[in-house]
Point group: C2
Chain length 453, copies 2
């Protein structure tokens, strides 16, 4: 059992995580929010109070912290008695915050790989560059370090694990598909920090094909998908952290990540990129000033946080898994639909932040409960996905599954029973469970309210 | 008679002007080139020596000069004994250089209206904002100040004057059409300083319609034209300096300027403009620095001078004039075709600079000769266009005319005779002129070599 949470960062994901921690602070205890800019932490606390998110007693406090300063972070962890550290700050902070956790014994969670500010997007082997080098240190210290537990990476890793274990004897391919079918109504904007956002797309795209890494260029490979609720969308093969750990841990020969982009987004991106305006290397103006073009692009683009109000539509993110079961070809899509307006209504953020912020808190709750408090470093697909999916189902982030049997809420225990070997099914209790729950096997658009049981 | 030329500026147009002055220095005398950066002037002199452009004796010298400093400019004018000042520097310099001319008695020529660096593109009444306020001063000093004598403004003004006087009793409309059908082979570039180039397109577009100013937005009005040599091209209604003076001086109810843009140019322009990256107003970066986005865009774009080598294709600029003669509707296109590669071969510049730099030197030669040395301030359409067109025909910038009679080199004297009242034509000499020159009434693509008689 662990208690008291320190959230590091005060951006969109931190905002959602703080709300969700506050909603669950009977389990989680005190909630602390720390970032370089105290005012941003205080704004989150004001939002929590306004929405009435906090349900139990306990502290809710803002702190100014430069999380690159390991000693200052350790001091804050100790002073606040925090046993769970949710790092949702800049990806440049991961290794210093993790070190502070190892040296204080606190559990560590993040939602993206560590990045070196001098590199454009981390090259392979991603986790191998930084995080996994501390694996032995975590084990020695008995520290739980849970890497990449947002939606993607995070939930999609758990979906992959669940699919591999439940629906297949052999899996040939996992295609992770990330579609934002929402509209912010602005000419152009990125959904999170443009400096981080664009870095994802300006370097080599890596995918895992036939058990090998394959490189391609951004926007080189295009694929249409017919997705539930949001319908037909065009996606492009993109590199993403989770491919690395999933390729190591799932034994699946093909794992690809597909990001949905509209033609307008791609056009703007291509113009800026072709002109060199997305470069993080300084250029010299006619006046002799050294300026990083990407910082100017960031300055003219809307602040991602400003997009939440008025954002309409839905996101659809999931794993399309193909393989065989009992010699028969199977295709299973495990996915989530998240609504921008409902997210804003509940916590004051759009769905992009919501889908990343809820999972990390669900994971923190499983660590607090002891279920996922494994005492060493893990990626999400190394843990039992069932309690994680169950926990998110209760927190407003409902998982669904679409396969030959139809489209339904994914309730892990029921799916496990349904797909267990035949001898296990010849058990009266199982048949009763199905009879009672038949109504849940419904098709169509999920409703968050309906599913928040 | 005036002699010795001081060229102010060392950009693309200055480069061409210096070459052309050097080619004609038997008439023009000493050639001086002055700009803030001495090295740029020296590079032009090196290019003149490399191409062997200088034909006669006389000085060819580079000078460092801040032409906003009127006293320094006057000193340089006096020390060099320059009687003709060709101002092809930044458009921010016009009024200080003109003042230096008024105070020293030197003739003044430029190729674009004065601009205030704090304004995005001068609003109407353009020449009325600055230049024309010094009209009385020029007259009092007996100083020839010839405004806007590049191609457009400049040559197109002379074309308008020539058409109105020669081919029509009444003119309804002059459409000035500017098409660059060349290719620089780069992803995107502007043909002259991006800061000046984009300013033309980011504000209100003014056109002269039914004897009134009409405003519209950039890229609001689109028009296809079938032009000689370069073929079918799409253009957009654009504001341009010459509309102001031509509307005052020609008595034509409709005068419009159409600039050719490819879809790719417009797309890049629209993305940059919509994002706010063409703004001359500073934005604040996340790090707190104040940066003017347009200066960063300029820094990432290719230096226009670097485009000349390898630039292929042709420009086509002209006046399409519609009206009536003897009660019959007439349509006349007076135009020039300029080839990027031939321009580079001759003077080391592309055609955009060539078409602006040759006319100002042709005008300087007419001032040196006394023909255009009128001793007061004028716009080009206030002067006799015939000697100007003749002079340019000899200098590599050949004017052609396309009308019901065909497509031919425009030789002013012949056209005047051809279109003179019938009683004037009943003259043996005229008939002989036609018989001798019939071969010139050819259709098809002009050749600069052939036409350089």
């Amino acid at each position: 059992m662990k208690r008291n949470v320190l959230i590091i960062g005060a951006g969109g994901v931190a905002h959602v995580a703080a709300h969700k921690c506050a909603q669950n602070n009977i389990l989680l205890g005190d909630i602390h929010i720390a970032s370089r800019t105290l005012a941003k932490c205080e704004a989150i606390i004001a939002s929590i109070k306004e929405k009435g998110s906090k349900h139990g007693p306990g502290r809710l406090q803002a702190h100014a912290l430069d999380a690159l300063d390991i000693e200052a972070t350790k001091t804050l962890i100790r002073e606040t008695g925090s046993q769970i550290i949710i790092n949702v700050g800049s990806p440049f902070l991961n290794m210093s915050v993790m070190t502070a956790c190892i040296e204080t014994g606190a559990a560590y969670l993040d939602t993206a790989i560590h990045e070196d500010p001098d590199k454009v997007c981390e090259p392979p082997p991603w986790y191998g560059n930084h995080e996994w080098k501390r694996r032995d240190d975590c084990k020695k210290a008995g520290v739980t370090a849970l890497l990449g537990v947002g939606f993607d990476p995070g939930v999609v890793n758990a979906y992959g694990r669940f699919a591999v274990d439940t629906y297949f004897d052999q899996v040939d391919a996992i295609d992770i598909i990330d579609i934002n079918a929402g509209s912010h109504g602005r000419y152009f904007a990125t959904n999170f920090d443009p400096e981080i956002n664009f870095r994802e797309f300006t370097s080599t795209v890596w995918s895992w094909e036939n058990n090998r890494w394959k490189s391609s260029k951004m926007f080189e490979h295009r694929q249409q998908w017919d997705m539930p609720v949001v319908g037909n969308h065009t996606t492009y093969l993109t590199g993403h952290d989770e491919l690395h750990s999933m390729s190591k841990n799932l034994g699946v020969p093909n794992i690809r990540f597909w990001m949905g982009f509209g033609d307008h987004y791609i056009n703007v991106f291509n113009v800026l990129n072709s002109l060199g305006l997305l470069s993080e290397k300084p250029v010299r103006t006619a006046e002799g000033d050294e300026i990083v073009p990407l910082k100017v692009v960031k300055a003219v683009l809307p602040d991602p946080a400003s997009l939440a109000k008025g954002y309409t539509g839905k996101t659809c993110i999931g794993d399309l898994v193909k393989g065989t079961k009992n010699g028969i070809a199977q295709e299973v899509l495990i996915y989530n639909i998240c609504d921008h307006e409902e997210s804003y209504e509940e916590v004051g953020s759009q769905a992009i932040s919501y889908t990343a912020g809820v999972p990390v808190v669900a994971a923190a709750m499983l660590i607090a409960d002891g279920i996922w408090d494994v005492g060493h470093m893990v990626n999400v697909e190394e843990l039992d996905p069932a309690p994680f999916i169950e926990q998110m189902n209760k927190m407003g982030l409902v998982t669904r599954v679409r396969d030959a049997k139809g489209d339904r809420v994914l309730e892990p225990q029921r799916e496990l029973l349904m797909n267990a070997p035949v001898e296990e099914l010849e058990d009266t209790a199982t048949y009763e469970y199905f009879a009672h729950d038949q109504a849940l096997l419904t098709k169509g658009q999920p409703s968050r309210q309906h599913d928040m049981r």
